[in-house]
Every structure is written in structure tokens, then in C-alpha cells.
Point group: C2
Chain length 216, copies 2
Amino acid sequence: MTSITPTDQTKIRRVPGNAVYDRNVINAILDEALICHVGFVDHGQPFVIPTIPVRIKDRLYIHGSRASRMLRCAIGQAPLCITVTLLDGIVLARSAYHHSMNYRSVVILARGDEVTDPEMRLTVFKALTENIIPGRWDDLRPPNENENAVTMIASFPINEASAKIRTGPPNDEENDFALPYWAGVIPLSLKAGSPQPDPKLPDATAIPDYVSNYQR
Amino acid sequence: MTSITPTDQTKIRRVPGNAVYDRNVINAILDEALICHVGFVDHGQPFVIPTIPVRIKDRLYIHGSRASRMLRCAIGQAPLCITVTLLDGIVLARSAYHHSMNYRSVVILARGDEVTDPEMRLTVFKALTENIIPGRWDDLRPPNENENAVTMIASFPINEASAKIRTGPPNDEENDFALPYWAGVIPLSLKAGSPQPDPKLPDATAIPDYVSNYQR
């Protein structure tokens, strides 16, 4: 087990039994997420913006327009927070108080760097696509010079990070077990529906297997 | 249409065609969300923490332990950002560059107040539960005095807010339409699985209709 040492800022104090600092667990949560929420501060005002993350080794990458305030803040060595949350279920307890969610979340505190190396940029673009839909990178037009030029990539070390995971049935009070209310978990998961072809596709265009068999 | 006037801080500059300031649209997104991400700043470090939101009229409410740093920051009149994101699909374009997500998000900038009025607190507790699973509030034990005392509720005005929505097929370049790649959308949605009864439930306990028929 490769563990990340919790710092004063990432040590989980609320329900510490749900805290995980194992890098493999953190990585698995990051890799499953289709979006993260990036927190940054601009003139004292925090902003939280959703965007697509991808992890490569021990770093997390986000990308966007060079004109984006988020990206500009992200590469400016200011402290950021990037959070990923996967919702796994609704926890119905006998008491209102013990109602909860099953979830897996990761909080990363980091300062970002811009990725400028052309080879690394291409690696990130490919990973962003392949992490969402494996097989796609070989079935698209790669970024051209102009698209590449207007896109900024920010990179963050995953060193100051923690995961928080809740699983299993409700934690009701002993005194409440005799109450007549149903208790348990309604599982939740992100499901893919039937692919919707672009109306502008030629009629004969077959749906590739990596699309028709797509599952989260 | 009741519109929220965008401020310098909530006016959407990136892809402004996707911006929505209609209060009904913003409310519908907030009401569908099971979680929000709360951004706050503590000693210069932004944090982004997932929690359960509920909207009542023109305010958004979150709750948690009195010991929670997030709640303490939330009621301290410091500037916060609360963001909700609903993921609706993966947009596969002919070019890597135009790959995207279909989503509906809301960003609220606000300063929080603590909710102390006992009647309003009960209203919020009930709304939190009923917004997630309608019918549940009449089938549970309400908070007792101690549970009530240790729980803090923060309330935020929804006045400085904006929604951003992307729907529909990819926006490929004209030049790319002739490329042989499949393009379209893979819809995504949060689905409920079969309810998992708490192992501690008496065997005879029936699953209530509002649980067995649960859908997002």
C-alpha cells in the first residue's frame, strides 16, 4: 500500500473512520470520475467550476481555453482544491439524522503548472479522451495546430490528497432498531443510454463497438 | 420568465451562448441535484466539499455537524461558491477538440446565514429528505433534541447565480463532416438499483412503495 501522508489540511476530522489515504484507492476514484470540481480564488471570491479531469501517474490534468479564468488561476501557482465525488447510494436510516449518502470522494490540494511540452500535451489529450471512452482516440481527428494553441493544460501533483468513502447500511442508534420503518440503501450509478447519432452523420455510418457497448 | 441579473462575477464569458439566468431553469437544476460542491476559503486555501443541498423558495440550504469547518465557514458571512452539476451525456465529435459533455450546472455566489428558528429548521430537515426521496419524511423518526442541537443549517440567497447548459449533438467544424468517424451523444443518467434492505431489519419488513418505485 502506497499511502499519502495526510497534512494538517487534508487530515479528515469529520467521521475520520471514513478517511482513506491509500494512493491506489485515491487513484481508482479519480480514474472513475467523468468530472471534477475545481475550486480557486479570484479577488477573495471562491469559484467552483466543473471540468473533465484525467490522472496520469501521480498528477491530475485539466484543460480548457486559454481565455478561461479557471485555467489562468490554475497555472498561476495559487492554492487550488480539486474535488471528485462519485455517488453510490441513498442511505435510508430509521432516524432522519442518520440518513446519508454512500459515496467515494477525493479532495486534492495543489498548485498547478502549465503543461507546455508538445509530446506531454498530446499524451494528456489522448488520456482525457481514452479515460472517458476507451478506443476513441484512434477514431477521431487529433487537435490541429490552432486547436492546440488555444488550449491550455494545467497539471497538479497528487501529494496533498485524501479520499472519503461511505459504504454499507445505515448506522442507526440501537434504540431505533425496533422502529417499524424500512431501512437500507438505494444504490445509484451513472448509466449510459442508447447512443444518439449526430443528425449530420451520413446514413450508412455504423456505430463503433466501443460506443454501442459503452458502459460506466 | 423571472431572470436573475448576472453580475460581473456570475456573467458567463466562456461559451456565453450556453448561459442561462432564468430563475425557473436554475431552480429545476438545483432541485434535481442530490449533491452540490461547496467552495470556501480557509486561511487562503480554497476547499471544495460535497454535501446535500435543498432549495426552498429563493434560498439554498446545506446542513452538517456544528464541528464541520465547512459549516463554520458557511455561516460566517464569508464569500462562498456553491456549484451543482448534472451530467447528461458524452459528446463524441469528429475532432478531439470538439469532444465535450452535455450537462446542466448552476454556480451560486453567496454568503451564508445560520438557520436558528426551530420551525424553519424542521422545514429544512423535511425538505432535505423529501427532495431526495419523496414520502420518506412520514416514515422515519424525526430529529430528537440532541440530534437537532449538534446539527447546523446554513442558508444562502440565490440571487447571484447562473446556469450553464450544453445539450445536443457535437459542434464539429464544417471541414470535418466528411471524416469517416462516428459522431453523436452517449446519454448518461443517474439510475437507482434494487433496494438493499439493512441486514438488521426484521425479515417481515415490507419495502415501501416510495422505495421500490424509486427513480431519479
